[in-house]
């Protein structure tokens, strides 16, 4: 959009606004992150975006840390910090005030209605995240097969997901995925 602006400010308002629309959590906003970072601002390539997702999943801490990686790729350490804070602080402040409001009047049934209304939205958003990430990372049929196998195993068994990431990494290293 405005390429003359300081990229750190662009990060701040992009993620600050996005956080307020991340219904259901950080993973719901992945399609929007991809749209902004790859398609609109050209901060990263598809491959770099997929790598950022992979690194954030391999790291400890909440899923939201993919924005730390996006921020770093735009403006180094300052970008990493600004993107993380922009994605976390606005909703944290909102949560603080809403929780104080609700403890005072907990008779309302609106929270339950809003929650019920948001559940299908957040699942739809997560589904879109899955699709967009699959399109960016699965470039060969073997890659698609690995994704499908991980999805089925994680759905049907209680295997620690770390093993699947490890297996994916090994297959990648062996050059199977291409």
């Amino acid at each position: 959009m405005n390429s003359e602006a300081n990229p750190v400010w662009t990060l701040a308002w992009t993620f600050g606004l996005m956080s307020l629309f991340a219904v259901g959590g950080a993973n719901s906003a992945i399609p929007e992150m991809h749209r902004v970072a790859v398609d609109v601002q050209h901060w990263m390539t598809d491959k770099q975006f997929a790598d950022a997702f992979a690194i954030s999943q391999m790291s400890p801490g909440p899923n939201v840390l993919i924005v730390t990686l996006i921020g770093y790729s735009v403006a180094g350490v300052a970008g990493a910090l600004v993107a993380t804070l922009a994605m976390c602080v606005p909703t944290a402040v909102l949560a603080y005030y809403v929780s104080r409001l609700l403890t005072r009047s907990s008779h309302s049934r609106w929270p339950a209605i809003i929650q019920a209304a948001l559940v299908p939205l957040s699942i739809g958003l997560m589904g879109a995240s899955g699709l967009i990430l699959a399109l960016t990372s699965d470039r060969t049929w073997v890659a698609g097969l690995v994704t499908a196998a991980a999805a089925v195993l994680a759905f049907a068994t209680r295997i620690n997901p770390l093993w699947m990431l490890l297996a994916g990494g090994c297959l990648g290293f062996a050059g199977v995925i291409g």
């Binding site: 996005m18 956080s19 307020l20 629309f21 991340a22 219904v23 993973n27 929007e32 491959k47 997929a50 992979a54 690194i55 999943q57 391999m58 790291s59 400890p60 801490g61 909440p62 899923n63 840390l65 730390t68 770093y72 990493a80 994605m87 976390c88 944290a92 909102l94 949560a95 603080y96 929270p111 209605i113 929650q115 948001l118 559940v119 299908p120 939205l121 957040s122 699942i123 958003l125 997560m126 589904g127 879109a128 899955g130 990372s137 699965d138 890659a143 690995v146 994704t147 991980a150 999805a151 089925v152 195993l153 994680a154 997901p161 994916g168 990494g169 090994c170 297959l171 990648g172 290293f173």
Partner: protein
Amino acid sequence: MPTESPPAADPAPQPPTTTPPGLLALFVAFAQVSLAGFGGVLVFARRAIVDRHRWMTADEFNETYALCHFLPGPNIVNLSVVFGSRFRGIPGSLAAFTGLLGPPVLIVTILAALYARYGEIDALRRILAGVSCAAVGLLISAVFRMAAPLVKRRDLVGLVVLAAVFVAIGLARLPLQAVLLVAIPLSIAITFAMRRRALA
């Protein structure tokens, strides 16, 4: 990355604490939860808050989490702030928030620097490509797991809303804000109308 010691292994179960946690205790507890929490911090947060420290009962925890889940943004970050404020006001929020985010942000920033420097190395590229394939599969399985209750209850309205959002964001690639500014009021109105009809 998993930690070397399992997070819930506390050999001597302590009696329920009556004194609210201090700022340092909040910071340390959320830092531990965050560093143990690989792929999902929530499980570890529940274990630490309910089982290990007994700062909340399971019901209190569920209520707090439900609130944080219906608010936008990273749920667990919201939880840390709400939780910290219950015991120590705004300083408590800050302690829990920095505990949760500080250490992992430091780690991820270091990884980002390493990636910026060595990301083009062929072996690393291949490994990351493999990891991301598997990671996407895990995310997709989470989607199916969350959608399963809707299918089971034959929640047709919910499934239509789910599909509409999926198409708008995933296929049409429309901006998130635009889609949600239409979808949120619509979904709330439908849910409200359905509940009234069910009551009538």
